[in-house]
């Protein structure tokens, strides 16, 4: 069945209206690139023309004031470059003329935006809105990311790593911050058991709510007044919050019950072992803004272990696949939590049948 487009949709801006000219001229003709230095890429086309790109570190939660955006855009326009946001929501000036490179980088640094996050560095940290706008947030993505970004800043502006490193932070398991896609991920979870407000059950689609629970912890019950409500079996609950998302009568996420979960080894590309989601290596991590030492320290230890023992161009996932999870825990001094096991869903893929142990 073909779909017919309704009238009235303006849709997306046309590419030719937004693409910088150097890219239009060399569209599909690029032959190679190099990282000139951290934050600066040079792409060369078969026409011989080159394109210099400056990548800027973005404030966490990709939050930009119109004032800053306009300041950046003004510098871009002044040097004749285009502007874009990357897939990790860093900002790029595209097509900076060679002689404008230093002045542009200087001007951008002056207004607060250092260049970095290309090649073998820490790339832009991705995070969701967290406490700046979202009610689901068990942790505040932007401030966690900021603490990490500050602690690891030199790693974003100098090529210290075997290859790229990505860190992403999600305020809750909805994963808008894509934590488990990244080499290192941080996810907020609430550890309380949802509370049902019987008097609000008119805001609840009970059958849908029952079905939404992954562990079948919810069942429908009749009240004395013969109205229906739902009940939650605390011991079955895995604190996913799905029921609260679904049903207006369920309250979940009380103050003080937020914790972080950390994952490692997410990967998107097909090199090495291919794509994968990150695996949970730390749970019940306490949240202490604004410096979040309980998160920053393990992240540092993971990075240190990786930097010291990974091969050239070896991504975190490929490194762990080679050296083994035993070595990962040993070298990072993380304690393997019992919760790393998941008998609930991942029994078969998670447990091992080989005896290929590392000690």
């Amino acid at each position: 069945m073909e779909r017919i487009q309704r009238l009235g949709g303006v849709g997306y801006p046309r590419p030719d209206a937004v693409l910088p000219e150097v890219l239009q001229r060399n569209y599909g003709r690029w032959t190679r690139h190099e990282v000139v230095r951290p934050g600066v890429l040079k792409h060369v086309s078969d026409s011989g023309e080159a394109c210099l790109t400056v990548r800027l570190l973005m404030p966490m939660g990709k939050r930009l004031s119109t004032r800053s955006l306009l300041e950046i855009a003004e510098i871009a326009e002044r040097v004749g470059a285009g502007l874009r946001v990357t897939s990790r929501r860093a900002i790029e000036l595209v097509g900076v003329p060679e002689h404008e490179l230093e002045p542009a980088i200087g001007a951008l640094r002056t207004i607060g935006f250092p260049a970095g996050g290309t090649g073998r560095t820490l790339h832009q940290i991705v995070t969701c809105t967290g406490f700046t706008h979202c009610q689901q947030a068990a942790l505040d993505g932007p401030s966690v990311a900021h603490a990490l970004g500050n602690a690891l800043f030199q790693d974003a502006v100098e090529e210290r790593y075997p290859t790229k490193l990505t860190i992403s932070v999600s305020g809750c398991p909805n994963q808008c911050g894509q934590a488990n896609t990244a080499d290192i991920g941080v996810v907020g979870i609430y550890e309380d058991v949802p509370v049902v407000h019987d008097d609000l059950m008119d805001q609840c689609d009970a059958p849908l709510t029952v079905r939404t629970c992954p562990t079948h912890a919810i069942r429908v019950e009749r009240l004395e007044n013969n109205r229906q409500t739902v009940r939650i079996a605390a011991e079955r609950c895995v604190h996913c919050g799905s029921c609260a998302l679904q049903c207006g009568a369920i309250e979940f996420g009380r103050p003080g019950t937020g914790r972080a979960v950390m994952s490692v080894g997410g990967k998107g590309s097909n090199t090495g072992c291919g794509p994968a989601l990150g695996r949970v290596v730390a749970v019940h991590v306490p949240l202490s803004p604004p410096f979040y030492r309980e998160i920053v320290d393990p992240v540092r230890r993971i990075i240190d272990a990786w930097v010291c023992t990974a091969g050239e161009r070896e991504r975190v996932r490929d490194w762990i696949a080679r050296v083994g999870w035993e070595k990962f825990y040993q070298w990072t001094k993380l304690a393997m939590p019992r919760e790393a096991l998941d008998g609930f869903r991942q029994h078969h893929t998670m447990l091992r049948s080989d005896v290929r142990f590392r000690w």
Binding site: Q5, P13, T66
Partner: protein
């Protein structure tokens, strides 16, 4: 620490500070300040907001502190594929964000839609009308197709195997109605990557991932390769990078790639002297999601079509696959069931049947080991 000390700490350090950005706008800072200080978000329920004339792309978020701000409506502006911002576009967005919203811009994680926040409910229609007047549109909210996303592709990347931006435009405009009128079982995300490097993490994050692939072998420029590398480094670097063990360095230093190459891109990423093959098309993967709802939680998209040659500018063959998937899910999916959960529930054999695709060895990781079949 006092509230102000916490905020101040978050303005410090070498990384550009989001608190500074928020402070440079009319954002109601107390909501955030109290939130971070109590380590508990001050925002409350929200969601779809029904505004006549607008299908999707505007939503509302309530707060727990009505004395500061009762609600914050926000508008998601559809942005061009590849993330480009012309000076005119920047000025339009900034002007409207200042005039209608708090002046804070959020390039969202889903696809870099621009969110304009803290808009007042009664101003929403006016804002959208002004956006439309400037050639901009809204969408991407609720149970609809979200803003499509693609990597920069041929605009600035030598690896691009397909015209990601062209396909984004074709598919984005063709499915616009489904992006603006929520009516599916749940949200649906489509992402387009130019090559298996997947710089937009389509496979990890999209209900439908379209990835540029090549079918023939990588092409080796022997002379170029020789000038870049010496025998020793060749062996150690290229050969050890190849996960398939498909590269061999011959006695005359020529590098051979055999048919066990799995087109992973590792060697191609490493040197301009090895280029992707010329027989190009897309692979289509379905059912990815990161959200934890549904019984199976996060799952990566699974290959349903390993190779499909594409014909720009219409890309009708790609649209056909996309529509078939959407139709099957739309018709048989349950409420709030993401495509991946739907596939899991009905089983992949049946799903492939529904969309009229024959399985091939390219779609399996490994064949099954159980001997329980439907025999009829």
């Amino acid at each position: 620490m006092t509230k102000e000390e916490v905020l101040a700490a978050l303005e410090e350090g070498p990384w550009p500070s989001f608190v500074r950005e928020m402070r440079r706008t009319k954002t109601h800072m107390d909501l955030y300040a109290d939130g971070i200080h109590q380590n508990y978000t001050q925002f409350g329920y929200g969601g779809y907001v029904s505004v006549p004339e607008i299908g999707s792309g505007v939503e509302v978020r309530r707060t727990r502190r009505p004395e500061i701000l009762e609600e914050s409506c926000f508008v998601r502006v559809l942005m061009p594929g590849g993330g480009f911002l012309s000076p005119a576009l920047v000025r339009d967005i900034c002007e409207l964000a200042d005039r209608y919203g708090s002046g804070l811009i959020d390039f969202t994680t889903t696809a870099g839609t621009v969110e304009i926040k803290e808009v007042r409910r009664e101003q929403l229609t006016a804002l959208v009308r002004e956006l439309n007047g400037r050639g901009l549109d809204v969408g991407s909210g609720g149970d609809d197709i979200r803003q499509l996303e693609c990597c920069i592709g041929p605009a600035r990347c030598e690896h691009a195997l397909i015209d990601t931006i062209g396909l984004h435009r074709a598919l984005g405009m063709a499915t616009l109605e489904d992006q603006q009128f929520p009516r599916f079982p749940h949200k649906f995300k489509i992402r387009i990557a130019g090559c298996p490097n997947d710089c937009i993490r389509a496979v990890q994050r999209a209900d439908l991932a379209i990835v540029g692939v090549f079918r023939d072998l990588p092409r080796v420029d022997q002379a170029g390769l020789r000038s870049e590398t010496t025998r020793g480094t060749l062996r150690d670097r290229l050969q050890s990078l190849c996960p398939a063990g498909a590269m061999e360095v011959h006695l005359d230093d020529r590098v051979g790639i055999d048919g066990t190459c799995n087109r992973c891109m590792a060697c191609i990423n490493r040197t301009a002297a090895i280029r992707p093959g010329v027989e190009r098309g897309v692979a289509v993967l379905a059912g990815g999601k990161l959200g934890h709802r549904g019984t199976a939680g996060a799952q990566m998209a699974k290959v349903i079509v390993p190779f499909l040659p594409v014909t720009p500018p219409e890309y009708s063959e790609v649209k056909k696959v996309v529509y078939r998937v959407l139709d099957a899910w739309d018709e048989h999916g349950r409420r709030k069931e993401r495509l991946g959960d739907f596939m899991l529930r009905i089983g992949v054999e049946e799903f492939l049947g529904l969309i009229g695709v024959e399985p091939s060895p390219q779609i399996i990781g490994e064949p099954r080991f159980t001997t329980h079949f439907h025999c009829t």
